[in-house]
Symmetry: C2
């Protein structure tokens, strides 16, 4: 007699994972160069050399008992200091180490914040479609209701604030904003965030409690064409930031990130403690020390985005020339392409079986009719995949 | 408006942490050699040299994208294979990698199992006092009822199976067994575990569903005098093992452990999936890859216990000579000493303020009247602390 909800979650077929596993098998059969796998958001540029240097230096010079010892629950003081100093210098703020709670990546960060905002009244967390597919289980299986704001498909960098306003209830505790966005690659400009902030301020006042923005920012560093990603706490004070170094330092497997609860946010001390309590009862306190110490050394390091940017241009321009409709993304490493036949599932299936071309249908992101194409791959994969994309278009256009 | 329960958990004073922090301050004031800190269960022997070698070799020879990339949710196949092979060879079993779910340490392992066993009927998890203080919040804040079996204070290596039987209800889903035990250092012998198994088998049959033993085994490798720690799945088939390498490889900060769900346990596939689902919605899938790869290389490595064993004998013999009552522990790195005045809180407070002697009163472990003395410290700390223990005894005896 086990928990049936968790059993399903642990056993549910994940479309991305299934495509990826299919790709692995096909690569074994046909050779890697004949399979065009655009499924995963796994960084394709190596971690900066400084990561290796930091680890080896640490192992060679420091006491192993200290390197591998428990950290304090909220994290190693030096790592928290480094994160705070980096945020302060970038955004002209005075972030304190005590406002930072280190976590095993963005997922535990988000989950701790979601749990911290769950009250007995039945809390709602709002998400903006399309959105990262794990938001829904993170919210629903931690006691909340997931309220979806429909996408503005004319322009994914716009937020439908009218819909936000009409969907907010007195139970709304937070709105997850993911910018640069997975799966669209869009960056919400300051004007959109200010409009959102205005709605939330008005509604917070109406209901007499803060409605937080939960800024999920693993892609913050991955932007192109000198686009600025607004730092939301500077626009809306009741913002909690969830961050991960997975993408910026190409360390996805190392599970290191943080929650930043600005002291100027309402009830910030209560919220920080609730995040800590939620982390405690999900077993997330004390992120791995060796990785925390890497962050202590490398928090201000930025990625070299040249390879991603080249991929982005190459894929975008080729797909547009073939006739695919897609907005040129400003951030992350995803292209969000309109399915030419209108049915992304059919396209994905035909592309897979007919061309070993693996792209993710967007139903999982709750915005059907699109294909997520992750361009964190080798340049060769992109070049070699173009005939497959062209063949698919020809088949569909008949 | 934040979650009040988590807020309290994130902010609740922890007696161990408070004593430890006091010790740090006193060390700054007086010098480390004048403070006798026996509070934490933080390994005092360094990680084996093989850990460092494994990491440096990996960094020097492997592709950083693979080293730091996402692993599969349940863990790196090579690491799961290494864990399964180690268990198989030690216990004469045929453990399969698919029965192992790697986790960020024992806490997430335990929590995932507890959550996996929560049903709509209101699940109960039984614990044997004295017990690790986090069991209660882990159970209660994840939706369960914590049912405490009173200690057998005549002999902590005995389980009061009559009490177990009378406290089991149809909602009982599991019993946590922690051997070697924190805080007593006791190891439950095979006879006690068989008696427990008999009760659970009878009651499982009566209620028509399995009652699992949740074997929490972070101290499995830390035993002395050639004592054998029975491997519970060999005694009771419906056992799920939660393990951590924190103590055995002196890697407490690195947060690496696993859940082992034997395929011969009832509903094992369902249970494994429910553990995976619980891990997913608490954000625990894909433990840090660099540490998983360390385990892949070092799963069969055992600690050199000489230093702990020396500490154990030295402290035990000296305390006994002074007149303290204590059973010589067979495992872990704790001495569980009867408070000579009967009140462990008074003793702990007086020892702290009068002698900078820091020992943990046992109320937190739900078995009042004892002091947990963690002997994972330097030998000098033990030698230098003896006059303080003697002075405390003289003060109390008047």
């Amino acid at each position: 007699m086990v928990n049936q909800e968790y059993k399903k979650l642990g056993n549910s077929p994940n479309v991305i994972r299934e495509l990826f596993m299919y790709g692995l098998e096909q690569k074994k059969k046909l050779g890697a160069e004949h399979v065009f796998d655009f499924t995963l958001g796994n960084p394709s540029i190596p971690a900066p050399e400084e990561i290796k240097t930091a680890i080896v230096t640490m192992l060679n010079t420091e006491d192993p008992i200290k390197i591998h010892g428990y950290s304090l629950s909220a994290g190693d003081p030096v790592a928290r200091e480094a994160v705070a100093a980096d945020l302060s210098s970038r955004f002209g703020m005075d972030v304190k180490p005590g406002e930072i709670f280190l976590t095993c990546g963005a997922a535990p960060a988000l989950i701790s914040v979601i749990k911290a905002l769950m009250t007995e009244n039945g809390s709602e967390i709002m998400v903006l479609a399309p959105f990262f597919m794990e938001y829904r289980p993170f919210i629903e299986s931690n006691g909340g209701k997931c309220v979806v704001v429909p996408p503005d498909t004319r322009d994914f960098s716009r937020i439908d604030t009218k819909a936000v306003e009409s969907l907010i209830s007195e139970r709304t505790q937070g709105v997850i904003v993911n910018s640069p966005n997975n799966p669209t690659g869009a960056v919400y400009p300051e004007s959109e965030l200010k409009a959102l902030a205005a709605v939330l301020e008005r509604k917070s006042a109406e209901f007499g409690h803060p409605i937080y923005i939960i800024a999920d920012e693993p892609y913050r560093e991955l932007v192109y064409d000198d686009v600025e990603v607004p730092f939301i706490p500077l626009i809306y004070k009741n913002t909690v930031v969830c961050y991960s170094y997975s993408k910026s330092l190409s360390l996805p497997g190392e599970r290191i990130g943080y929650v930043y609860v600005p002291s100027f946010a309402e009830d910030s001390e209560e919220l920080f403690n609730a995040v800590a309590g939620a982390a405690r009862i999900t077993g997330h306190i004390c992120a791995p020390t060796i990785i925390q110490k890497v962050i202590a050394a490398c928090a201000s390091k930025r990625p070299d985005l040249k390879a991603y940017d080249e991929n982005r241009r190459l894929l975008y321009e080729n797909l547009r020339d073939i006739g695919y409709e897609c907005v040129k993304p400003q951030g992350a490493f995803y292209l969000f392409v309109k399915a030419p036949n209108g049915d992304a599932n059919v396209f994905s299936q035909k592309a897979k079986l007919g061309h070993n071309l693996l792209v993710v249908p967007s139903d999982a992101f709750e915005c059907p009719g699109y294909l997520r194409v992750s361009y964190c791959v080798s340049k060769d994969t992109i070049i070699n995949s173009i005939p497959a994309f062209r063949a698919m278009m020809n088949e569909i256009k008949g």
